[in-house]
């Protein structure tokens, strides 16, 4: 029988660690056993975005979406759905939008309804190892069009007209950056893809690299043609081994098919791409530090000006673009600037991918048009707060960004609007927090990260951020004073003004924004020596109230045996032994809830 069904398994890093390879092997095994392997193609593709529900398996042409699939489920899917045509209801994923419907298609799901998967269009559809599947999706058509029928200036004009802005965080107009570099004369120019993606919790670029690596290779070649570069580099962080492997494989395939290399499409244009690995430094996501790293130097930023477009890699004119920025290029060339502008906002056209994480139901990747509100992303696409808790804040922009509160949730998301409310879009990380998060601790977490990652070159960042962290630690330990709060604010503004690069300049942002929106929490820590969210251990004490029925559940889980009490008698916690882990509170039966902290 001809191939009549495709089993598509998500093979992004999340689902791989959830067992996608084992699922693939089991599918192949069972289908062979049933004698129907010839009718079914089993394919692994990139990220579907609904990472919370992984491992994900989608059956085509039915478009049935199976979630949390285990190896033990595979036989049932093969026998019931694939052989007999009866979908396995218990494994199907439904959300609020589809729970009472039958014959549900992927695009009906509430999770996908408001998304525009333009950059992610091939993720969850094609096999990233198969260049012919990329070509089937109009792959390399844009490159062919560019090198055979367009002048470099025409390419730059299209990208300028589209209004595409850098998706790495700064939002600089891409067409303008390319035109600066094109205008500089040099014997050699370079174009680099920044795939360092250092923000904690961000994995948008990872999804593109793992799921659609050719889109980046094609875009680099197009960019190289536009600016006059014959050499491209993809700088990937070493912490993404799957992405590195797939990009490396894709580069070799593209060379094998003659799509990059010498005389591309007979145009006389040569272009080569190589991978360079990052080595675990957040600062190397900063373009001049990245350049230093490729040159073999320690990753430390340089003064700008001169900007890389005039003096970059080995002092040659260089363009550096983020993965997501590049992933838009081929489609802009094929569909035009007007198409790109047809969604999004006037100043920020197009889509943006967000990695939504934290205390939210549907964690994963979402690609939405610019201009959508935070409320829609968090509550409609994201499915709202986990366990019915109350929303407290959302952190956007990673360690460089700020917190956004309930009142600001109807702000439309774009580059300028988020800056206006004291945060920034950054590269697209979005961490949702609930009533159990301590905002002082959140600020401390981010500052801890940036202090660790600071390269040390400039004094304001190296010394200043460290001092800010020390003050925050003092506050969380219950030693803070009101003077400390003033010091924090002073330091923050000095560091922002005087640091050499964006790491230092933006490191104080989480502190500034949490002090602005959650000052009362800081004051509780400083004046009342109390952590309202119950997170900062030194400011929290656990007590057993008279609701206690003496069931002994808490004493059983206490790792330091700090709880004593007779059977059916009210138990007591010895404060001198207690390590404030909170296990007792979790163990206390929900109906009793005799343990509180204050």
């Amino acid at each position: 029988m001809r191939v009549r069904m495709t089993v598509l398994l998500c093979a992004g890093t999340g689902c791989i660690s959830g067992g996608s390879n084992e699922l693939r092997d089991e599918f192949n095994h069972v289908l062979r056993e049933l004698g129907i392997k010839d009718e079914v193609s089993v394919v692994q593709s990139g990220c579907f975005g609904l990472c919370e529900k992984g491992p994900v398996v989608v059956i085509y042409p039915d478009e049935t979406f199976y979630a949390h699939v285990k190896v033990s489920d595979v036989r049932k899917i093969c026998e019931e759905h694939i052989y007999k045509g009866i979908p396995v209801k218990e494994l199907e994923f439904h959300d609020e939008a589809t729970k009472n419907k039958t014959n549900v298609k992927l695009k009906d799901l509430g999770f996908y309804a408001k998304q525009n998967r333009r950059v992610l269009r091939n993720c969850g559809l094609i096999n990233p190892y198969d260049i012919e599947e990329y070509i089937a999706r109009d792959g390399y058509q844009a490159l062919a069009k560019v090198v055979t029928s367009m002048k470099p200036q025409e390419v730059i004009d299209v990208v300028k007209a589209s209004g595409l802005r850098g998706r790495g965080g700064a939002g600089f107009p891409t067409g303008l950056k390319w035109s600066f570099c094109a205008a500089n004369q040099s014997s050699q120019k370079y174009i680099i893809c920044n795939a360092d993606e250092g923000d904690p919790g961000a994995f948008m670029d990872r999804a593109v690299l793992e799921g659609d690596p050719h889109s980046i290779i094609e875009a680099l070649a197009i960019g190289g043609y536009a600016i006059g570069a014959t050499q491209g580099y993809i700088y990937v962080r070493a912490e993404y081994p799957i992405a590195v492997e797939r990009v490396e494989y894709a580069i070799n395939k593209a060379k094998e098919y003659g799509l990059i290399g010498k005389n591309i499409f007979g145009s006389g244009f040569d272009f080569d791409v190589e991978i360079r690995l990052g080595a675990g430094a957040f600062v190397c996501g900063e373009e001049t530090a990245l350049i230093a790293s490729i040159e073999g130097c320690r990753g430390m930023p340089r003064n700008k000006p001169p900007f890389p477009a005039s003096k970059g890699l080995w002092a040659h004119p260089t363009v550096i673009n983020n993965v997501e920025t590049l992933a838009n290029i081929a489609q802009i060339i094929l569909n035009g600037a007007e198409w790109f502008r047809s969604i999004g906002t006037e100043k920020s056209p197009g889509t943006k991918i967000f990695a939504v994480g934290g205390k939210i139901n549907n964690t994963g990747l979402v690609e939405v048009p610019m201009g959508i509100t935070l409320r829609e992303v968090i509550f409609e696409i994201g499915g709202g707060i986990k366990n019915g808790k109350k929303f407290k804040a959302v952190q956007t922009g990673g360690p460089s960004g700020g917190c956004i509160t309930e009142e600001q949730l109807d702000t439309p998301i774009d580059f300028d609007s988020l800056v206006a409310i004291g945060s920034m879009m950054g590269s697209g990380g979005m961490i949702v927090m609930d009533e159990d998060n301590c905002m002082v601790d959140v600020a401390r977490f981010y500052l801890d990260f940036t202090v660790d990652e600071s390269c040390g070159k400039c004094t304001p960042c190296r010394e200043g951020n460290r001092r800010m962290l020390e003050i925050l630690n003092k506050i969380c330990d219950g030693q803070g004073t009101l003077e400390d709060l003033e010091k924090l604010e002073d330091l923050a503004s000095m560091i922002k003004d005087a640091s050499l690069c964006a790491l230092g300049q933006s490191a104080p942002n989480p502190v500034i924004s949490t002090i602005k929106h959650f000052r009362e929490e800081y004051l509780a820590h400083i004046v009342d020596k109390r952590c309202p969210a119950g997170v900062c251990k030194n400011l929290v004490s656990y007590f057993i109230t008279d609701k206690c029925i003496g069931c002994d559940m808490c004493a059983k889980v206490c790792p330091v045996s700090a709880i004593k009490g007779g059977k059916r008698e009210r138990h007591e916690i010895d404060q001198s032994i207690c390590i404030k882990c909170g296990s007792c509170k979790k163990a206390c039966p929900p109906k009793i809830q005799a343990i509180i902290y204050k």
């Binding site: 001809r2 009549r4 042409p61 007999k84 045509g85 089937a136 792959g139 591309i264 499409f265």
Partner: protein
């Protein structure tokens, strides 16, 4: 690599991934499987139809399994939906009839002899 060669690879590639692409097929054919369908040879019907569609070089058609129907005793049953979602149900389909149904359906015609409906069944 020339543009022509690229386009040839594209055609080849589309063959490979066509099941995953979003389409608006001009007609949708569901071969009822489930226990009674399988017992009466629904898989052979499915196979014949897929083969016929391939031979005719049809791109814009969906042929797949469908749920069991209420027409007990009439398996193999095939349901065909046209572009406006009008449904025709065929019963006791043979492999030859199945092949004819493919070419008839794509042309908007109905293979009368094999049509079954509530009226016919309850006669």
């Amino acid at each position: 690599m020339t543009l022509d060669e690229l386009n040839k690879i594209k055609e080849r590639g589309i063959e490979k991934i066509h099941l995953r692409l979003e389409k608006n097929p001009s007609c949708k054919i569901y071969v009822a499987t489930g226990y009674s369908g399988l017992a009466q040879g629904s898989r052979q019907i499915l196979e014949a139809m897929l083969d016929e569609a391939f031979n005719l070089g049809l791109n814009n058609i969906l042929i797949t399994q469908g749920p069991s129907t209420t027409f007990e005793g009439y398996d193999p049953v095939v349901e065909v939906y046209d572009i406006n979602d009008n449904k025709v149900v065929y019963g006791k389909v043979t492999t030859d009839a199945a092949r004819k149904i493919v070419s008839y359906s794509i042309a908007g015609k109905v293979l009368e002899e094999y049509v079954i409906d509530d009226k016919k069944v309850n006669q």
